[in-house]
């Protein structure tokens, strides 16, 4: 269970998050949507403690994250970053084992149990066959699965994903998100995914949070949030929302015509 309570953050003088409050329950997938620059990545970074917050709290089961050391925090919360410039000479196996860091002593000694957990994480992320390969040789989709495996290897109750499908082809986008959803249900993980594809969000998330200019504008089921007015206004482009032809939930389609003046 992840509780975000009126979290604010700033880059220098510029306020990027304004009192964001959001809860993600165990076994729940929440998609964080919003236009570029709305603060999706910033929220992920603020929750994971890599940028300082100017107000508010992040908690789980009563523990305030701000009072925890990076190592303690990494036992509660794992982050799947966007695939970008991974050190290519590392093997997949070495990379995934790094997920055990919060449980290692200062020598970084790996126990048999750590290896067993790394193997399981690779298996669950459907990447066991890649174990011997070097990260630099992998496709974007494979690298993303490796990063997912590394996060799973951290054995945390909370999982944050920052635009995990940003650079992936269609089949990888869908399979990765289905995988994450399955993991959330099987292992009762609290999952927060920042993403920009609204229809993928509708497909994979139990609830959707719409973030605009650092504030939560709407929060609820995909049907409740993916409304034409809300989305048109948030993204500054008129959209139509129709029932999805073959699965539950809405389908968002951008209009052909440019935005009217009153939408801006």
């Amino acid at each position: 269970m992840l509780k975000i309570e009126s979290l604010s953050a700033a880059y220098g003088q510029r306020q990027v998050l304004h009192e964001v409050s959001l809860q993600v329950g165990s076994g729940e997938v929440v998609a964080l949507i919003g236009p570029n620059g709305a603060g999706k990545s910033t929220l992920i970074r603020a929750i994971s403690g890599v940028i300082p917050v100017t107000g508010g709290q992040v908690r789980t089961n009563g523990d305030d994250f701000a009072s925890l050391s990076p190592m303690q925090r990494a036992r509660y919360l794992a982050v799947v970053p966007q695939v970008s410039s991974l050190p290519p000479a590392f093997t997949v196996w070495e990379t995934v084992l790094l997920g055990r860091t919060p449980y290692l002593n200062f020598l970084g000694q790996i126990s048999q149990r750590d290896e067993e957990l790394a193997r399981r994480a690779l298996e669950r992320a459907d990447a066991l066959n890649l174990a011997e390969r070097r990260v630099g040789e992998l496709s974007g989709g494979e690298q993303q699965r490796v990063l997912l495996a590394r996060a799973l290897c951290q054995s945390t109750p909370i999982l944050l994903l920052d635009e995990p499908t940003a650079h992936l082809d269609l089949q990888y986008q869908v399979s990765l998100l289905d995988l994450v959803r399955q993991l959330a249900k099987d292992d009762r993980l609290a999952v927060l995914i920042a993403m920009h594809d609204l229809n993928l969000a509708a497909r994979c998330a139990d609830r959707v949070a719409l973030l605009v200019e650092g504030q939560i504008k709407a929060l609820g089921s995909p049907q409740q949030v993916l409304l034409p007015d809300l989305i048109s206004q948030a993204y500054g482009w008129p959209v139509q929302v129709v029932p999805h032809p073959f699965q539950d939930g809405p389908l968002v389609l951008p209009d052909r015509n440019p935005p009217h003046q009153d939408l801006e």
């Binding site: 890599v50 190592m71 036992r75 970053p81 050190p87 290519p88 000479a89 590392f90 070495e94 020598l107």
Partner: protein
Amino acid sequence: MRRPYLWTLLFLALAVLLSLAIGSVWIPPQDLWGILKGALLKRLPAQLETFAFIVWKIRLPRTLLIALTGAALGGSGTAYQGLFRNPLADPYLIGVASGAGLGAVIAMSIKWPYSFWGLMAIPLAAFVAALLTVLIVYALARVGNSVPTTNLILAGVAFSSFATSLTSFLMLRSTGEVRRALGWLLGGASQSGWLAVLSLLPYLILGLGILVFSGHALNLLQFGDEQAQQMGLNVSRAKSIVLLAASLATAAAVAFSGIIGFIGLIVPHILRLWWGADYRRLLPLSILGGAGALLVMDVFARVVLAPQEIPVGIVTALTGAPFFLWVLRRAKNQGYW
């Protein structure tokens, strides 16, 4: 090639043997063995006495000093590369060695007594200067959170020439003692002897000891500060510790053996090609390999113009600079690190 430690140790052992055997007089390996046996049994055959004197008083301390220097440069080079996430970081190229040299010469120009404590003060001054250098070069080269290769090398080279000029100026102005520093600065072990070895040792044990245990942290840092922290590393603390330890090792090496370039670049690079990028293994291997590599170059420096010796820094630069250019081209073409 499996068994990285075995091969690296074999190489080091061979290098030590060469360094003891080769010089103005050739001491055959069986005589070296006889000298060692004689020392252990306290009974030295009379015909080996001259050789024994040469080995104990001259060759062994020099060999140890060179080996320790190489170990320091190999280890700190690897650490800087991991810290800056840049395969071309080398104590010499990023200016730390010249900075440390300047610090050492400042300390010498104040006073340079050839005593244990006098010798201990020079590395300390070198250490402070090395640390300042690394911070200045890093601040100059940094763009956001990354340190691009070109910026790092340019800032390093610029600062390096500044420090070197200042060093030359100090040496020209001074008389007597500090002139001895000229040979030293070019990387000759002009201060050989057991005293130098003993004075160098505490700095190295501390610096390299810390580095050996920093492998896991450096592995995490290869993924960037944010990911490293999200995986549970206290990033700023880990970086400061590695920076201090690497600069301490470099400073100690420079203070006793002068400015020797490229060892910290060549050794980790080759080891990485063979045995991968895992810093938990790469660091100890680079320390051992650095010792061996510098010994081999020192042997070469002794024999190439025999009976005259050339400073080993010249040999490492002559072999290292082309190697550096090759790596630079390769890194540009592949972006593999």
